[in-house]
Symmetry: D2
Subunit: 333 residues, 4 copies
């Protein structure tokens, strides 16, 4: 950490600050420049409150030069992490295609979609049983019975599935779920993250609507620091001024996250655009830029879907897209 | 709701859509223009999935013309809501000054600050016992013992207090709390909102970092639709590209919310800027533009505060600010 | 255009508004709903000031249902536009690779880079002679002599070139330039756009840092409405809260623009990220999602580049990237 | 400037970099930490390309610790700048009320409004003769005749006026103008800024829609470094995800700019919200937080205004607002 002092700071105040920092167990290197003095803090600076130091009258700026995340930091884990979901590998060169409806609606729907996406080459099923909805008047998901339908679809197709958990209380219901998703709105539900760190199941952690990559990694850190290292990240669009799509897919997050962390990174082209017509091109972009997989909404009857029909592909559209994704993957291999 | 059809849509497809909409219990007015046909949907359109209709091939655009929120809609409640927190009134001309430390740290700290802010004219105390922190390695608050210290401070000073709840499971601990705060990161923790709608206590609902005013109101709607109408809103800064302050105080949200809803609206100048030096000017701006109160961080020893010290005022700074706030309130009366 | 009146508007006021609108040459269809009256405006509504109508006391909302752009609207030009730059075709299936240094620095540099990118398969050269710089103390480009060096490079390699124009006064200097670029900061320099509409040369119009797709199209409209239809659009990153990259590449703008307009759309992976390491993956994403070309910064000696060295590829990196781009193009064909 | 090297950098590469930096005339202080080496660069670092250094393989991060702006930096000019516009003082405790129509439309309009705002206490007139419009089909202003009408209004009322310049070529027309405005879209039209630095007239520089405070100051620096120090800054709203107002007034920019620079800072509540109903509350917020003045749109007949009628106050509304602004100014004195 670097602390820049203001020009003309009294020697006494400077020494007080240095003493206080040394007291935190740090060694301090002092550089005197023409216009300012710079303190280099050496040691474990994760305990130092940057904002607090920055607020001191004699301080002009504070800069953290090492990342505050450890468990998910590629510096300490140069090899790609490979996460195993009931036999399906994600990361380290293993590309995963996950597909399924936004919400589980009924047996016929989930079985039809599951069989269709399997036929198209998907290795995992997705489907919401507990749904976060902006309005209290919207369909909140089938809840527990929805989970049962996902298990039935798994039994019929052999596809493991991922589904969203919204609350710690619901955790006992998720015992036989293959992968638990933390949705964008819960990315900083820290108590939930901590609990998910105590179970032995892979977690799909979606980036929040307005969260930086560092915040995403700190949320992964919550899970990993509690003991569960099986975390897969997912870019699903951020909120910007741009108003033609529901969100803005931050595609550069994929290679940037690959630099910062060894965790796998997926792209969700459905939620990031909110428009089914854009899903194929955004999927191909995701595959081309090195994502470790795609999670895509597919519905056999989008026009009657209870939620998010507007962003779902039909099975035949998905099958065609899956072929192109494979071709792009081969092209960049 | 308005549905605009594309130019040259086949009559048959148009009739199918109209029949489907009528099936949802709506009446349809058709306007044929030179370049498009417009359908006006009359009746309860809250059930219609806008995105789904927009995704139909024959549809060019869909516009909702009535707000999806009801309980908190000023149209149906023209009078200002007055929320009563253990005798302290907020809204309808009642201006509230809430102050206290970011986190409760110990008995001495909370009592000192509580007495100081009371002496300066604050009517309510704030203080965090359960703290959402970006990093798993940061201080998470004193938790239950912190709540006890707040009750002690209330006993000593007579000030009711507001404190944040992060989880449904913690609810039993909050029985003797005067007002429960939902933090920005939990604004769309819908299960938590729904539970808070079932209790009989005032709720302070903070706007999320990247949430629109409509989303804030929909979250208030979750609480109110479940039975609890005692909701106070709080603007606490949004995330933008601007990088000099921690967040950007969206000051125009105050008068805009006053148009849209009858609920009281507070301003939090501490979290919106993250810089103690800016808190006085932002507080005065909030008071001048018609906010129903201010919630401000005050610490007797900011330099040693365990969290957010950089944005806390010292008691004497708060006292001076409180005097100016009163003067501004009188000036605009 | 749709005008929604408030509930309970007096009949007289309603009739006044209708009369005023009819006076503008419009036909009005009235739909009376339970909670509001909706006016459908039929005819040429491009003259109507939406904000003004929205501000009327009796009006609850105004929605424009047809786009205000005409010349660049795909509705009226369903076929892809193909822009010809000295024999190099862009759009309608013709993919263009443009490459070169941020700034032209000297003869050796521009010739070396031009030959290298040509060898790698680039069809056009880029290079700045007039450079917009945030600081008055930074290198502003070689100006006129820079243009001469670009012509020399063209003569040596046969590559036509694109270079930025910042001011109407400089226009005479650009007579022998193949394609003129309007930079992001000048996207709404309307007088400049209008002048470029009067010349007979292809224009590369970059999206502004915080401009919507509609605004980008309105700026293209300025050029086209003045008579010059040879416009190529370029997505080069937008400003968001995300802080790991210089800007955020809005990759979904590519397919969205293809829906809205028949003009070609390029991607600039260099300026959108500001980080050379991310340029290959973002280029592949651009190619995969259907962009009509890529404009990439290449420098033979990035470490000594006078500007933007951090985002430039070395020639050998570019050559490898160009091969992969071609492979991706074939994969999605 | 601080350069942080990666862990385990070869000694030889480190020495090469240090030699290169010393070559630029800098002295280098080296701090060796446990996880990284930090170089402190002492001397004139304004020539160093941060992004370039950051892109070097051995470099982990680069931080600038001194601001790149000098002429407008409060560090070097601790006293408030007072700008004099034909006798009207702005800054250093002098609060200015500027008002007038968005566009000058005709003699009757501008004289009526000028007299009305003078009667209400305004000290300066505003009015657009050259108007930047998003659409080529919108009213572009009266141009030169508009300037004549402004001079007439000045003659009748004695109010000096400010009006926008869009192009260097128009400069001769502005000889008898009291203050020239650079609009938000031209904040980074660097050639224009440089020319305005060569004249001897006060400049009103508006913040761009998506520009940081640093960029605003760098643009002021362009004008001042060319010789003209009479610059007044103006916060007029930034572009964010928030969709209820046209822009988001970044009210905290006012006190933050006051820290960074000695230049006066105005607030434009009309453009920042785009909604006349919100102008009074935002004006009071601006006055309360210490702005040096307000520039407000006033129209005698907003409903027929040729542009921006939706955000204009009527003269009687302005008069009432002006009274409240004075009361707030007294309250915070």
């Amino acid at each position: 950490m670097i602390v820049v002092l203001k020009h003309g700071v009294p020697q006494e105040k400077k020494e007080q600050l240095i003493a206080w920092l040394q007291n935190l167990g740090l060694r301090i290197h002092v550089s005197d420049g023409e216009f300012q003095t710079v303190l280099g803090l050496i040691g474990d600076t994760s305990q130092v409150d940057m904002d607090l130091v920055a607020s001191l009258e004699i301080v002009s700026a504070v800069k953290r030069v090492s990342e505050p995340f450890k468990c998910c930091n590629r510096k300490f884990h140069p090899e790609d992490m490979v996460v195993d979901v009931a036999g399906v590998k994600i990361g380290g060169g293993n590309f995963v295609m996950i597909a399924g409806p936004c919400s589980v609606e009924n047996e016929d729907q989930i079985l039809t979609v599951a069989k269709a996406v399997k036929a198209a080459g998907a290795q995992m099923l997705r489907g919401g049983a507990f749904k976060p909805r902006t309005s209290p008047y919207d369909f909140p998901g089938l809840k527990a019975p929805g989970l049962e339908l996902l298990k039935l679809a798994r039994k019929e197709t052999g596809l493991p599935f991922v589904t969203e958990i919204m609350n710690i209380q619901d955790l006992p219901l998720f015992e036989d779920v293959d992968m638990l998703q933390v949705g964008a709105r819960n990315m900083q539900n820290f108590d939930l993250l901590r609990e998910l760190g105590k179970i032995n199941k892979p977690i799909l952690l979606k980036r929040g609507l307005a969260n930086t990559l560092k915040e995403l990694l700190m949320s992964a850190e919550y899970i990993m620091a509690s003991g569960n290292e099986q975390v897969v990240l997912c870019e699903r669009g951020i909120r910007t001024f741009s108003d033609y799509t529901r969100n803005t897919l931050d595609i550069s997050a994929v290679p940037m996250l690959h630099e910062l962390t060894h965790l796998p990174v997926l792209v969700d082209p459905s939620h990031s655009t909110g428009i089914a017509r854009l899903v194929p091109s955004m999927s191909l972009a995701g595959a081309a830029c090195g994502a470790d997989g795609l999670i895509i909404e597919v519905h056999n009857d989008p026009i009657h879907a209870l939620c998010d029909g507007a962003q779902s592909l039909r099975p035949e559209e998905y099958a065609e897209l899956a072929r192109k994704v494979r071709a792009v993957r081969e092209a960049i291999a």
